[in-house]
Symmetry: C2
Subunit: 364 residues, 2 copies
């Protein structure tokens, strides 16, 4: 088992990564002094529940916990205020009090939703993440939790750090292949923004990671979490540095919004977005190989690097203007300056961005 | 003008109390370095908007701010997730960004709702309270913000401190008399839990306060805010001491819930609740005069001290069991031990509480 500590002063927490560690979830809870007098609520989704809910419930009950579960529909649609209201109803019915803990068992959707429940239920209760997707290595570090508004993604939320993250890589075996690749897209992003060696390792180990080789997976998840946690530790509330985690996300979020949050997975959308950022780097005069390497790695993982023709450029642009990364009217972009390094560029002209969106439709 | 500082380390903020000070709201904003590049959103309700929105909008625009407003229906029903979703839509339409400020112009309902919008919009933006009810002297100190769930009051929320509170006592002149008295109920509570002298002053000045004598009002609001801020400064996140602010609230909240949040005003419900707590004090052997004085003051303000016969005791009891003040199954009550002092009693038998609810229906 690998262990990583996210350093956030009194809000620091560990991430445990290992194959089969859900068997020990009861003892993790006990070790973290999670009391047995108050009930726990597991929030999960349909697909995850089918494969992994029973073991979590069983092991926690064996340890002496009172456990209730609430199962939401799978998919981004569950990150809404109306589903939040239902989860809170379940929490009230189960008798959760201020000493209770909410557990997110699932991917980023369940993590963000259950995390915001934990942040806001009785103005904040404890929270444990049990990620079951690769993408969730990203969402389980940093404490950002949120639900969507019909007009904008992740717009209603909080910063709420978990007590711990229990990452059982065996759960990833039931994850659909397309979801595996999409999750690896964020792992590639963590290399691109921070670590050239890890980026090279990602390129070499593409086939191992895609086929869920447990050794490679644990190392990749460990490194992905580590990069993210270094960045987050330096800037918990996203005042400056943390913005670099948004490489590929400005375009990516717009693509998700315009395609109605169902055509493209988050990791696929940011894959295209990262190609867009690399193209921006070219325009700004940064080395050509940034673009070549970025695209080559993403393609090694079978991730999309071009934009579907049918998505309307105007729609994409106006979705970007609603995106919260545009402070005070300026367009802010994360731009790679070499492999493993990025800058926060606050002076990107929207005309350029529009041209790049058009170019992304012509990509090979 | 009176000024009071709520001491909360780097989250400290001032409360300005004075007649006609909304004229200067623009300069208060400038003094607090609220930038003009990001739009402001005023959240208010129908009744308040009719009387007081124009001046706030005008003065802020005169100062150079871009101001949007969103008007919700008056009343507790607006403290809901569905209204929150509408306010967030208004914020997005107005182009609010992470440097924007949300202004609550109104009573506790608007304060709690707009405060939770400010806490959760983009994971937290700045917040200014402009209270227009007497009760809001209570809700504008302490940073508790929340919306209701159909199953429980204030169950979804956050701790989010304002930048400042601008309390113009002239706005209180348009407040209906019944709301004036209900607000004074919380002011009485602040005396009863902390300050025997202030309690005596409250009894002497009942007619002045009811008739909105500006001098008395400013002193009363100042003292009410002060007691609350002392308590909150010592226990920002309600771990222990802060619970004393709940005098009368355990029963009070249950009465509000059972009467469907429309028969009794919050201040009226806690007035009955405070009589209940005084009766509990009697049973615990504390001096008789606690009960006599409590009831006499509340009656001087024309506040209710008995429970309507038609409210069902079982319903009231089960509403209390959903209340978040029952940690781990124990019944916790705030009990006066003398005038100006209370204890947090964690061993109150529910049988006693039931008897007291019954007795409250027989009160003179
Ligand atoms: N909070 C953050 O910092 C952060 C960071 C990145 C992304 N996110 C959010 O994360 C979300 C995307 O996360 P995601 O990709 O994990 O999505 P997800 O949670 O929707 O999971 C993807 C799909 O896989 C299924 N699934 C999950 N685990 C499974 C398993 N082990 N076996 C079988 N099926 C399984 C789910 O039911 C779902 O259909 C987005 O909403 C995004 O905004 C948040
Ligand atoms: N956050 C906290 O710490 C805290 C503390 C106490 C109470 N509260 C909350 O406060 C709420 C009750 O507050 P409230 O009594 O101020 O209720 P409110 O905001 O509903 O105001 C009462 C009524 O008076 C009207 N009104 C307000 N100001 C007016 C004015 N100047 N002129 C004319 N009409 C005016 C309103 O439209 C409403 O109809 C409850 O929801 C309660 O939970 C919160
Ligand atoms: Zn992402
Ligand atoms: Zn109150």
């Amino acid at each position: 088992m690998r262990e990583l500590k996210v350093e956030l002063g009194e809000r620091s927490y560990p991430i445990y990564i290992g194959e089969g560690i859900l068997e020990q979830i009861g003892s993790f809870f006990a070790k973290h002094h999670i009391g047995k007098a108050s009930p726990l609520l597991i929030v999960t989704d349909e697909y995850v529940a089918k494969h992994h809910l029973a073991i979590v419930e069983t092991k926690l009950r064996e340890e002496g916990y009172t456990v209730a579960s609430y199962i939401v529909a799978s998919g981004e649609k569950s990150k809404s205020l109306s589903v939040l209201e239902k989860v809170v109803a379940a929490a009230l019915e189960a008798g959760l009090d201020r000493k209770s803990t909410v557990i997110a068992l699932g991917g980023g959707v369940v993590g963000d939703l259950a995390g915001f429940v934990a942040a806001s239920y009785m103005r904040g209760v404890r929270f444990v993440q049990v990620p079951t997707t690769i993408l969730a290595h990203d969402s389980s570090v940093g404490g950002k939790v949120a639900v969507n508004h019909p007009m904008a993604k992740n717009i209603i939320g909080a910063f709420h750090q978990p007590e711990m993250v229990v990452y059982d890589t065996a759960t990833l075996r039931t994850l659909p292949d397309r979801e595996v690749r999409a999750g690896l897209s964020e792992m590639i992003k963590h290399g691109l923004i921070w670590d050239a060696d890890f980026t090279a390792w990602m390129e070499e180990n593409a086939s191992k990671l895609i086929s869920l080789d447990q050794e490679a997976l644990q190392y990749g998840l460990y490194m992905g979490c580590k990069v993210k946690s270094i960045v987050v530790s330096q800037d918990e509330k996203e005042n400056d540095l943390r913005a670099i985690l948004n490489l590929g996300h400005t375009i990516g979020h717009a693509l998700e919004a315009v395609s109605g949050y169902n055509e493209l997975l988050h990791g696929e959308a940011i894959s295209i977005g990262m190609v867009g950022s690399a193209k921006l780097a070219l325009r700004l005069g940064y080395p050509e190989h940034i673009y070549t390497v970025t695209k080559r790695i993403l393609q090694a993982y079978g991730l999309p690097t071009r934009l579907s023709q049918h998505l309307n450029t105007d729609d994409i642009m106006s979705a970007m203007l609603h995106d919260k990364k545009f402070m005070e009217g300026n367009m802010v972009f994360i731009v790679p300056t070499e492999i493993g390094k990025v800058e926060i560029n606050k002076n990107i002209s929207s005309a350029w961005v529009r041209e790049i969106v058009e170019e992304l439709k012509q990509e090979a």
